[in-house]
C-alpha cells in the first residue's frame, strides 16, 4: 500500500527560472527515490524525473509550482525537491 500523497507549493526564486541546469538537478533528485513526483504549473503537469518535460513548463522567476509525491518515498522525494527550490538551485 502506498503512503498518502504529499503536496507542497514552491516558488521559483532563482533569477533565471527553471532552465536546463535546475531541471537536471530536479530530475536527478527525483530519480533517487522510490516515488512518483508530479510538478505542475497551473494545469500543466509533468514528471519530475524528465528534464525535457520540466523545461517545457517554462517556469520563470516568481512563478508558483505545485509538487505532488506518491509511492513509498513520496514524502522524502517531495521534501528533497522542495529543498532545491528553497536554496535556489545554488544560483544567484
Amino acid at each position: 500500500m502506498s503512503e498518502p500523497a504529499l503536496k507542497r507549493t514552491v516558488i521559483v526564486a532563482n533569477r533565471e527560472g527553471l532552465h536546463a541546469r535546475p531541471a537536471v538537478l530536479i530530475a536527478k533528485e527525483a530519480r533517487k527515490f522510490d516515488a512518483r513526483v508530479v510538478i505542475a504549473k497551473g494545469l500543466h503537469e509533468v514528471e519530475a524525473t524528465d528534464v525535457l518535460q520540466l523545461m517545457s513548463l517554462g517556469a520563470a522567476q516568481g512563478e508558483q509550482l505545485s509538487l505532488e509525491g506518491s509511492g513509498i518515498e513520496g514524502r522524502e522525494a517531495v521534501e528533497a525537491i522542495e529543498q532545491l527550490f528553497l536554496k535556489k538551485f545554488d544560483e544567484d
Binding site: 533569477r15 533565471e16 527560472g17 527553471l18 532552465h19 536546463a20 541546469r21 531541471a23 537536471v24 538537478l25 530530475a27 536527478k28 524528465d50 528534464v51 525535457l52 518535460q53 520540466l54 523545461m55 517545457s56 513548463l57 517554462g58 517556469a59 520563470a60 522567476q61
Partner: protein, 158 residues
Amino acid sequence: MKFSDFICRDAIRANMAALDKEGAIREMVQSLVDAKRVNATEFESIVKAILKREELGSTGIGRGVAVPHTKHPSVDRLIGTVSVSSAGVDFASLDGETVNLFFLLISPPDRPGDHLRALENISRQLRDDTFCRFLKQAKAPQDIALLLDEADNHQFGS
C-alpha cells in the same frame, strides 16, 4: 516563442562530423560564424563559454538531445542553431545515451527570460515523438528547416 524567432536557418547542419563534445560545440559555433550571425573574432570566446557551462553539468538532457548554451555579450538578441549527428556524440548525458540532436543557444547576458522561453519551446515540441524522430533522421538542412516550420505552424505538443 517559435523556432523561427531564434534559429538561424543558414546555420542549420544535418551532418555533424564531430564525435566528441568539444568538436560538436566548435562545429555549431562555426556554423553561426559561417552564417554571419556571430563575428569570427568571438569564436573562441563563445566556444570557451559554452564549454565552461558544460563543466557545471552536461546539457545532454536525455532522449538523444542536448542544448549547449551560454550568455555572451557579443549578441544583442537570442540566436541559435540546430545540428544533427547520425553517428551520435558522447555528451555525458543524464541518461548515458549519445546525442543525435543539438540545439545550441547564445543569449545576451541580460535576457534570461528569452532563454527560458526558447528552452520551453524546444522541450515542448520535442515531446512529440514523431517530430523528434524525424529531426534525428534528417539528411539535409532543408529537411530540418521544414520540420521546424511545421512545428511552428502546428505547435505540436503545446
